[in-house]
Amino acid sequence: MRTRWRASTAGLILSVVACAGKSAAERIAEHDRVRVAWEETARFVGAEWIGGAIPDAYATRTLDRANEELRADSEKLQKDDMPDEARARLGEALEATRARVDTLRLAVGASDRASVARLVRDSPRANADSLLRQVALR
Amino acid sequence: MDIALVRDLLDKQLVDREGEPLGRVDGIVMSYSADAPPRITHLELGAQTLARRLPNPFRSILAWLGRRLSPRASEPYRIEAERIIQLGRVIKIDIDGARSAARETERWVRDHIISRIPGS
């Protein structure tokens, strides 16, 4: 009797946790948040590196980290269940961001300040105001 | 003087004549006979005494471990109840702590591990 009782409660707990997991829309938003977070981190590193505020070792290591995280997230993207159209769009965006981070990483590695400045200026900037409103800081 | 054995004696800190810690009262041995009031004969310290107080699954494992690791150290150490000088926040025992077997493990750790490390 005891084992049957334990099996049913385990089933109950798992189902509660599973359905409370994230809906497809949330997963898409999550992937987008991760992409923006690392794109902006890369921009921030580039800007501070040009300003001479951070050492080269830190800048290259953090850009490598950004690259790894974006690759890991796109792998996770393939496993998440969501409409294919959204998966393709997100996949492209992640890939584009990763490419930009990679070029920035190479420019910093080569201490090529001019192209770093250009890359930082040109990459699409997150909308600061909307973000501040989202967390009631504006 | 009236004593509540669990509240005032069991698990209390034991110190020797100089006030150096000896351990805690892990066990109390009582001599029981049907026709006379029971008398407290010894206080007991040691890993084996502690292991015996655990619910069963742990008791056998720890007792086995104690025997394997250091049979001599885990031998319970008994102090005659007559040696109790003073009861209170700590219990003072008429013993020279440095040489008493209660500090067996402490001496073992000191001689075999700590004193081998420079600057100890």
Binding site: - | M30, S31, S33, P37, I40, A81
Partner: protein
């Protein structure tokens, strides 16, 4: 009868029944008298069944809990040394019935 040595810490929380099998409580405290070098046991204090009450007794005497009346039924009973048969420490038995024990209200 030869004296038998018992480990007092193993008596703790042991359930005590009287000769007819009625429950008298669990051994919570043992009172003794120290005269000179001798420590002589005088009585056994049997606490309530619930372990939590014994541990959290001081908290239950606090005003918020007192209002709930938790402290009221956390009473105990006292068995004199000659009322307790410890020949088998695993199963302490009273030598009298539960009602003959002194009731204690904390």
């Amino acid at each position: 009868m030869a004296a038998q040595s018992i480990h007092l810490e193993l008596l703790l929380d042991r359930e005590v029944r009287d000769a007819s099998g009625r429950r008298a409580g669990r051994i919570e405290e043992i009172r003794a008298r120290k005269d000179g070098d001798e420590i002589i046991v005088e009585s056994y204090h049997l606490g309530p069944e619930a372990l939590l009450e014994r541990l959290a007794a001081p908290v239950f005497r606090l005003s918020p809990f007192r209002a709930l009346g938790l402290h009221k039924h956390a009473h105990g009973r006292r068995a004199q040394w000659d009322q307790m048969d410890l020949s088998n420490p695993e199963r302490p038995v009273l030598r009298c019935s539960v009602d003959e024990l002194v009731k204690l209200v904390r």
